[in-house]
Amino acid sequence: MKVHVQFTLNGEPAEFLAEPRQTLLECLRDNLNLTGTKEGCGDGNCGSCSVLLDGQLVTSCLVLGVETQGQRVDTVEGIAKGSTLHPIQKAFIDHAALQCGICTPGFLMATKALLDHEPNPTEPQIRLWLANNLCRCTGYDKIVRAVQAAAAEMRA
């Protein structure tokens, strides 16, 4: 039986009908048509489906949609302000911190969670925090530089 889920999505009230077996990732993409969140491994290893659940970074492939009843979910679609990119998005473009782009929404959300938690992270802190996100294109260095640049921009 489908469940009526009401929650806050990117700051706005939202609702969807979910089968209990549907993950939050499936609900976002298939029920709510928010396809910014990507599926990589589907078992919590790669981090490409990372979103914020009540402000906490989670992999949406390991959360059931029905678990988010009454909770707050933030996805990559919510971080830009209209047509103005979030400083993290801008830094990823400026530093060429992406190639194919599949992992990028997950990296953006993980970076947002990091900088919400620690506005001035060291490089080891950045690398450890982002260890739950895999990228097969960039070799990570450009991502780390982008995160450092975004952090500096957001502190300014």
């Binding site: 589907g42 659940l53 970074l57 390991l62 959360v63 059931l64 029905v66 969670a113």
Partner: protein
């Protein structure tokens, strides 16, 4: 995933009634093991019972006279951030930060790590070293089980039909108490322990008054090696005493060879990691 129903009880009584009515239901905490098992088809269930809405299962309670109680569904990220926990049980905050990466720690719980009953569970040897007690609710009421007695086989625990873990209790450390978990993994982070060792020691008046040693990934369950800890009691914290305890820990290990390491190498690691972990706690005096 195959279809299932979902329920989120808000009290212990409601959860017990649901589990009594649905013997094949599975309980859900953070889902980082259960959802992977359901997706892969390794487990199936007609009903998932989400325990995260039950007050006793989502609270961290620190009592300066008694100790620490961690609800079975509290995610690791709350443990690493908890001020009393970091101060009084720093080794526990550290191990909560070792399980998976940031996003996994946002969901995964020590309760789930224990109930999943993997031989390689990182938190379990440390919980044994900390003399932790599992508090279990079931049709017959509440019961308490020492963490070292909780796992009985890979993926199997003492939990009977209709039972679930409510919380884990950690007694207050005595003066001179230190605990530490060490593991060997081929990568820097986010890997399954080839061998893990949890130790605790209490030193009073220059002598070891109590010690507990437990191992991961060297037996079908996390392994409490009582004799190794007991061998230290009454001794001064010397490298000879440490080497003796490490030899006993190594002798108790019954590792298998698999894709992660051959058994001989695991036995070697038991000796090395036990010595290093004990050197860390005893050097910390």
């Amino acid at each position: 995933m195959r279809s299932f129903d979902y329920a989120a009880p808000v009290s212990l009584a409601e959860a017990l009634a649901l589990l009594a009515a649905h013997p094949t239901a599975r309980v859900l905490a953070g889902g980082t093991d259960l959802l992977v098992q359901l997706k892969s088809g390794r487990r199936e269930t007609p009903l998932v019972v989400d325990l995260k809405k039950i007050p006793e299962l989502k609270a961290i309670t620190f009592d300066a006279a008694e100790g620490l109680t961690i609800g079975a569904t509290v995610p690791c990220c709350q443990l690493t951030a908890h001020a009393d926990l970091r101060r009084v049980y720093p080794s526990l905050a550290e191990v909560a930060g070792l399980i998976g990466g940031t996003a996994v720690q946002g969901r995964a719980s020590l309760g789930g790590n224990l109930c999943n009953a993997a031989p390689s569970a990182d938190s379990v040897p440390l919980m044994i070293a900390l003399s932790a007690q599992a508090r279990v609710a079931g049709p017959q009421g509440l019961r308490t089980v020492a963490v070292e007695d909780f796992c009985v086989a890979p993926g199997k625990s003492i939990l009977g039909p209709g039972e679930f873990l409510v919380s884990i209790f950690f007694p207050l450390p005595a003066p001179g108490f230190h605990a530490h978990y060490l593991r060997f993994i081929p990568r820097n982070e986010m890997d399954i322990a080839v061998v893990g060792v949890g130790v605790s020691t209490t030193v009073q008046d220059g002598k070891i008054a109590a010690a507990r040693i437990a191992l991961a990934s060297v037996a079908p369950t996390p392994l409490f090696v009582k004799a190794a800890g007991d061998s230290l009691v009454g001794q001064a914290p010397t490298s000879e005493a440490i080497a003796g305890a490490a030899t006993l820990a190594q002798a108790a290990a019954k590792p298998i060879s698999d894709m992660r390491a051959p058994a001989d190498y695991r036995r070697h690691l038991c000796d090395v990691l036990t010595r290093r972990a004990l050197t860390a706690t005893l050097g910390a005096q």
